[in-house]
């Protein structure tokens, strides 16, 4: 229990830190770009929305910083992230709400697939050290050094432009109306396959290498030798003893590197013009839509925190030592 409470406390702190960073960034930055944007949209923007933006971006010079901070938290907790300029006058929260299912669907599923396959391959390579399996290492080293988005460019060139197997952009056939029909779902899967494959291929090598190294370390632990001495089957030794323990640090590194992976995969959405959070972040940067940018950062952080809580929970289930009382 203590383990989970500690972790929970940590996530509360991280959430607070992310919100606070978000609060201070526009206040520290030179210039007030948002003031200009408000001025440009004068008359079209409602008083409430304008007040929210002023609070979010620190344009109310007359109130104290502390009061601004409290007001800011009030807005965040109410889910008011301001008004988007690029998609004026849609509130930022609505823009994000429309985009996030796509990202979770694509990045989430692809990341889990990549982690699972990579961990399995990594345990195989780590277990069969000194055999042909080691020759997979240089290949995964190469893929780990390539930026995700560049791989996406190559994938589009080969599979969309040259071979024409998959569409180069978008998330579903625009002639279809989004409903829960087989046709629409099929189209989503068809459009999502190439981006998902690219994410899997570009991020899998990290899991392979990490798991391989952990397997090498764990394989020399005494309990693995004991398992072999007991004469249990190779399967049991590999999965029940070696991989079962090697996966523990793998899960914690999953939690820790999630922020990094999410960052990288968001860029994939840009290349594939996939209408998720990353794509909106890109348009926000291009259109200098600061409220949207900051809102997206906050939402991504919260999503990563949730994924971390899940990973922690999984870790707790996997490792009995964390369940120790006291």
């Amino acid at each position: 229990m203590r383990f989970f409470l500690r972790r929970l406390g940590f996530y509360v702190i991280t959430f607070w830190a992310a919100v606070t960073i978000n609060f201070f960034i526009p206040r520290i930055m030179p210039g007030d770009p948002v003031r200009a944007l408000i001025a440009k949209n004068q008359g079209r923007i409602s008083t409430d929305a304008e007040a929210a933006l002023r609070t979010l971006f620190g344009l109310e010079k007359e109130t104290t910083l502390w009061q601004q901070y409290l007001d800011y938290w009030g807005l965040i907790l109410r889910g008011d992230l301001g008004t988007s300029f690029a998609y004026f006058p849609t509130p930022v929260a609505d823009v994000i709400a429309g985009a996030i299912p796509w990202t979770i669907g694509l990045v989430g599923i692809a990341t889990i697939i990549s982690f699972t396959i990579g961990t399995v391959i990594g345990s195989g390579i780590g277990w069969r050290r000194g055999t042909w399996a080691d020759s997979l290492l240089p290949i995964s080293t190469f893929f780990s050094a390539v930026p995700y988005f560049w791989l996406a460019l190559i994938a589009i060139t080969i599979f969309s432009v040259t071979l024409g197997w998959f569409p180069a952009s978008g998330s579903y056939d625009r002639s279809l109306v989004p409903t829960f029909s087989w046709e629409f779902i099929g189209s989503v899967i068809y459009y999502g396959t190439l981006p998902a494959l690219t994410i899997v291929i570009s991020s899998i090598s990290g899991w392979i290498l990490g798991m391989r190294n952990m397997m090498v370390t764990v394989s020399s632990e005494d309990y693995v030798t004991v398992a072999q001495a007991k004469g249990v089957s190779e399967r049991t030794v590999l999965f029940g003893y070696a991989a079962r323990n090697a996966i523990l640090p793998q899960v914690s590194s999953f939690a820790l590197s999630l922020g990094f992976i999410v960052g990288g995969t968001l860029i994939m959405e840009i290349v594939f013009s996939y209408q998720g959070i990353g794509y909106y972040l890109f348009t926000a940067v291009a259109a200098k839509d600061y409220p949207l940018m900051q809102g997206i950062f906050l939402v991504i952080t919260v999503a990563v925190l949730f994924a971390n809580i899940v990973a922690d929970f999984v870790y707790g289930v996997l490792d009995p030592r964390t369940r120790q009382e006291g």
């Binding site: 030798t225 490792d319 009995p320």
Partner: protein, 377 residues
């Protein structure tokens, strides 16, 4: 000193079983014979020869102690004989003959993977040094005992296996409800008992114990040693007990083999080694530990340090640290021979040129007599 010397009275030793001395008939009914076992360490061009042509016989029901300084190869011998030596260990020659209850001999080094897997734990079980890491931290101990049982008896259900595991725990004095404990919930001594229970689960004929008590405090050490002696009497398995603590071996072992630099230098009945060491190294080793009982004797460390195994030339590996070394010692590596002391137990052997005048003459040197320290009777 009120402690009595074990030899003074037959009933004076509480630990030694009544048949302590009678059991000393290893060659008649061997259960495990290691012959000329050689082990290298390193797959590259200049491997370290950690074991060089080691031969050792374990009699049925016997407790054989294997002693020597760290790095002498005693653990390596145990791991190589079970083929559990981790990379880059490499067995380069020899035989490990196991005789089962019906008298059939098999060479463990010639078994294929499936056969070896089937033989393991059933024929020979091993208790590792440091019980801290020997148990899988993520499984309950019941499951860990049970999976060994079920691997060899596929028809056993998990429930039956767990029942048997509970009996085994009971045997080593642990409450059966501990089956549901994880290793981190147990103390070091308990973990070592769990390991022993686990090793005995399939009623093996040979139990190899690699420094099973090193990580424990003295009280716990004694309890474990007594327990092993008691279980051996009850179940009749043979034990290879590996430790650097010779005085502990005197307590439990029927016979002791002393190893130095990857070779066995002396092999004799436990009390013979204790009272009448024939090899200068055995003698020195005995003087570097306080005796558990018997008269106090002067503690003397062994000067120098063990040789670098990668730089061994010909000659006796102990010569640089030996007070009885002479010219021949740098020319020929002594082999195990019957000690040159009249009236010695004919089953004992020693590898020292002081006892082997023939080998000394063979290299054209003049043999020297056995010094008084090495010929006590």
């Amino acid at each position: 000193m009120t402690l009595t010397d074990p030899l003074d009275g037959a009933g004076a030793t509480s630990l030694a079983s009544p048949g302590h001395l009678q059991r000393l008939t290893p060659s008649a009914d061997p259960v495990l014979e290691i012959r000329n076992l050689s082990v290298d360490y390193g797959y590259d061009d200049d491997p370290v020869h950690v074991l060089r042509q080691v031969s050792l016989t374990l009699g049925r029901g016997e407790v054989l102690g294997l002693a020597g300084e760290s790095g002498c190869g005693k653990s390596t011998l145990a791991y190589a004989a079970t083929r559990l030596l981790p990379p880059p260990g490499l067995i380069t020659g020899g035989e490990v003959l196991f005789t089962d209850r019906s008298g059939v001999k098999t060479d463990l080094l010639r078994l294929n993977e499936t056969q070896l897997r089937a033989s393991r734990w059933q024929d020979m079980a091993i208790v590792f040094q440091g019980a801290m890491n020997s148990l899988n931290p993520v499984y309950r101990i019941g499951r860990q005992i049970a999976d060994g049982i079920r691997a060899h008896e596929p028809k056993t259900t998990q429930k039956e296996a767990l029942e048997r595991a509970a009996e085994m725990l009971d045997l080593v004095g642990i409450a059966p409800d501990r089956l549901r404990s994880y290793p981190h919930e147990l103390s070091g001594g308990m973990r070592q008992r769990v390991m022993i229970a686990m090793a005995l689960a399939l009623d093996p004929q040979v139990l190899i114990m690699d420094e099973p008590t090193t990580a424990l405090d003295v009280v716990m050490q004694r309890q474990i040693v007594e327990q092993i002696a008691e279980l051996r009497d009850r179940l009749g398995f043979s034990v290879i007990f590996i430790t650097h603590d010779v005085s502990l071996l005197i307590e439990i072992a029927d016979r002791i083999a002393i190893m130095y630099a990857g070779e066995i230098v002396e092999d004799a009945a436990a009390l013979d080694v204790y009272h009448r060491p024939r090899h200068p190294y055995s003698s020195a080793l005995l003087h570097s530990f306080p005796p558990l009982r018997g008269p106090r004797r002067e503690l003397i460390g062994i000067p120098g340090s063990p040789p670098d195994l990668s730089k061994l030339g010909g000659g006796c590996p102990f010569r640089d640290r030996c007070e009885f070394a002479f010219d021949a010692c740098s020319k020929v590596n002594p082999e195990l021979v019957y000690p040159n002391v009249p009236g010695d137990d004919p089953r004992r052997s020693v590898a020292c040129l002081r006892h082997d005048p023939a080998a000394v003459r063979a290299v054209g040197e003049e043999p020297l007599p056995v010094p008084a320290e090495l010929s006590q009777t």
